[in-house]
């Protein structure tokens, strides 16, 4: 582009007078930036135009300044209010922005809840299993405890029996078979002459038929006294306490009806002398 020609074209004057289009303005300003001659032409024309315009200076009415300043004060206030409104809107939009996340947060909460439920089920199952195991252990312990208890009771019983057997005042009598019904009958009798206590240890006696029971008798010369009934089935009991006997030279076992009788009726099964 020929700058001289451009300057001569008159577009700069039109530009300064404000008669050019926005596109032309842009073009002139762009060229002015790159070509100092054009810039100078513009400046010179502007100065001339301003000088011309200055002829028409007119003092405005005295109160106009106040009117202008009031308007600007009002505008300032309005802008400040607008700024506040804008700020409020921004804040409310920010909170709206958060609202967008609510479904996602809810979904995340649901997932966490489900995971937690899964763990709860797992833990509950474990707990139930542990509880069962504990109950089993407890019942086993109870069994053991009751075993220990019964063993202890047995032990006490045995100790007691042993103490009885070991008593120095004991007299041991072995009752032997006295009938063909029980040829192998054998019953040990411990008689403590001091305490008068009598104990029996059934070594061998046939089971009495139903409704029958063995009965021990003490014989002192002509006098026969009941010394109580006893069973043979009792496995745990080593010795059975009978009625106390103060005087006797012979002990006889007869088979009587259950519960015993006052006077011996049945057959003698075993017999032993003191």
């Amino acid at each position: 582009m020929n700058i001289r020609e451009y300057i001569e074209s008159g577009i700069i004057e039109s530009y300064v007078l404000g008669a050019t289009s926005p596109e032309e303005n842009e073009e002139v300003e762009k060229l002015a930036k790159n070509h100092p001659e054009i810039q100078m032409e513009i400046e010179a024309s502007k100065v001339a135009l301003v000088e011309y315009i200055m002829q028409f200076q007119a003092e405005p009415p005295a109160n106009l300044k106040n009117k202008v300043m009031e308007k600007l004060a009002f505008l300032e206030e309005e802008e400040q209010e607008e700024e506040i409104r804008h700020e409020i809107k921004r804040i409310s939009q920010t909170s709206k922005g958060l609202q967008i996340w609510i479904p996602y947060l809810a979904a995340a909460c649901l997932v966490l809840l489900l995971v937690s439920l899964g763990f709860n089920v797992l833990l509950y199952n474990n707990w139930q299993k542990t509880k069962k195991e504990l109950a089993l252990a407890e019942s086993q312990q109870q069994i053991l405890a009751s075993d220990i208890k019964s063993l202890k009771a047995n032990y006490t019983q045995v100790n007691k029996e042993l103490a009885i057997l070991k008593d120095p005042y004991n007299t041991y009598i072995e009752l032997q078979s006295a009938s063909e019904e029980a040829p192998d009958a054998k019953v040990a009798l411990i008689w403590n002459k001091q305490t008068r206590e009598v104990y029996l240890h059934v070594k061998n006696l046939p089971q009495p038929p139903p409704g029958k029971q063995y009965q021990l008798w003490s014989v002192d010369g002509e006098k026969v006294a009941d010394a109580g009934v006893f069973d043979v089935s009792s496995e745990k009991i080593l010795i059975q306490k009978m009625k106390n006997v103060s005087r006797a030279n012979t002990f006889i076992i007869t088979l009587e009806k259950e519960g015993g009788v006052q006077v011996a009726e049945g057959k003698a099964y075993a017999k032993g002398d003191v």
Binding site: A48, V50, Q57, A58, P60, K67, L75
Partner: protein
Amino acid sequence: MLTRSTSNVPINEDQLVILLKSKDRKGFALLYDRYSAALYGVILKIVKFEELAEDVMQDSFVKIWKKIDTYDPQKGTLFTWVLNISRNTAIDKIRTPEYRRRITDTPLEDGLQHTGSNVQIAIDHIGINQVLESLAPEYQEVIDIIYFKGYTHQEASEHLGIPLGTIKTRVRIALRELRKLTKN
């Protein structure tokens, strides 16, 4: 040169621009003190009625307030920028239907629109009057119709009944003449 003698505040244009851009009302008061007579003169020349000129002056300052962010000192002086805003606001005013109706209802002195021989000519710029007197009427005419009425070359051509090419030539020569006349 452009600073009015009434403005005795020792503040330069850069400082004033800073005040204006920070929307300091004191800055706008200073701007008013400095340029109100020049701006009011141009506005009055365009709209012709005092009360309208007052309205336009207020509207112009509102626009200056709102657009001050966009002012770029690299592109021109503060005065030419505010002058442009005032001129455009005034031209917008005379283009309204209300204004056109009013102009047809009110008989105006002949010649006022074209010659620019306004009664409000500032007396204190005595030297400048020579410019006005020295510039040939046909050049004053094109400047007035284009600058003060905002006509395009085409519109000016139609309005004055002068060929478009002649308008363009006159615009160019008018500015050249003004430059010669104002050169000290």
